[in-house]
Amino acid sequence: MKNVNHQRFRFHRKIPAVIVLAGLVVGTVQAHDPIFGIGPHVLYKGGIEVAPEVHTGKKGSERETELGLELTYGLTGDWAAGIDLPYRFSKDGSEDASGAGDVSLFTKYRFWRNDTLGAQETAAILAKVKFASGDENNTPPVGSGSTDAILGLSYGYESRKWYRWASVRYRRNGENDDGLRRGDRVLVDLVGGIRPKPTGYLEPDTVWLLELNGEYGRRAEFRGSDLPSTGGKELFLSPGIFWTKRNFAVKAGVQIPLVSKLHGRQDNSDYRTRLILEWHL
């Protein structure tokens, strides 16, 4: 009995941390796509993209750091697929844990493209499946213990000077072995970008971005019952930068919360950051 109570105590302490994981595992970035939102960019046929990244987030006493490696392959000029391999460091108050996070497979298909002189306007759909491969038995856990699916639609326009994107994603979260199902999420992103100085082919190139990232999460369920202090709405303002030279890119951004309307008693997000290095091979 003591052991059962101990397990229950540990499980309930894990709930907030498992729910926080949802905040970080959503992005798949290719080339000139937004840092936190998604864009319609894919990869040239036969191309390989290697992208190590660091993603951090803080919410009250919970901190998450994810070191990820994203590998993408260009199946055609309009269709790419890849894998995301994360390693996580989780900290909740005085407890911390680290280990392999949940592996994801993703694919993106650009179904519409309108090319004009010095500009490209495109739209794509994205699908991503995150598997329950990470370790969820740590305290705090580094894996969610559930298989989740993400479906996204994105539009993008890029020219020699201006960029704009709009995207929407729906994330359907699965149930873990303990009977916890994080609430489904809807993410909406509006992004603008500017290249202050149009540069030549082999010159270093800089584009500045400003993203508006909206997130709506339903309440999590535990064995069929809603958990009151989960889910809600958040809106972030996210400045970012791409710096590129030939086939190498550095992308970085920070998400600053503008509005937080979370259900029940929850800590608001303090910030999230993302740094990506990317090579096209």
């Binding site: 080339a31 000139h32 960019h41 894919v42 990869l43 040239y44 046929k45 036969g46 191309g47 260009g74 055609t76 000029g77 309009d78 650009r110 493209r113 090319d115 004009t116 002189l117 010095g118 500009a119 490209q120 890029e158 020219s159 020699r160 290249r195 149009p198 540069t199 030549g200 082919y201 082999l202 010159e203 190139d205 584009v207 791409f242 590129t244 030939r246 086939n247 890119a249 096209h280």
Partner: protein, 103 residues
């Protein structure tokens, strides 16, 4: 040592002569907005035997390629190459690289 230097010079001269007798292609391509995204074009063109210097003029939507004598780039080949790179091929002009020809 002298033999090595002579070999390098001869090889450079041979290379220059080969491309001097080659062809410059100027391809009009739509969708070229950023230098990073154009890398796929460079990679695909370099996979073709005989392709030498490649330049991309983003503002004018031009991809300029010098090829060695005996190498020909065709419209269907370029249409597919640019499609696979994620851009739209529009047209192409070719100019011989042998001195005054084409002027």
């Amino acid at each position: 040592m002298n033999k090595r230097i002579a070999l390098v010079i001869m090889s450079m001269l041979w290379s220059a002569m080969t491309f001097a007798a080659g062809t410059e292609y100027r391809m009009r391509v739509d969708g070229l907005a950023c230098p990073y995204c154009a890398y796929g074009i460079e990679k695909k063109l370099k996979a073709i035997d005989g392709v030498g210097k490649i330049d991309v003029n983003l503002n004018e939507g031009l991809v300029i390629v010098d090829v060695a004598e005996g190498t020909r780039l065709t419209e269907p080949q370029m249409k597919k190459l640019f499609q696979d790179s994620g851009f739209t091929y529009r047209s192409m002009t070719e100019t011989p690289l042998d001195g005054d020809a084409g002027k």
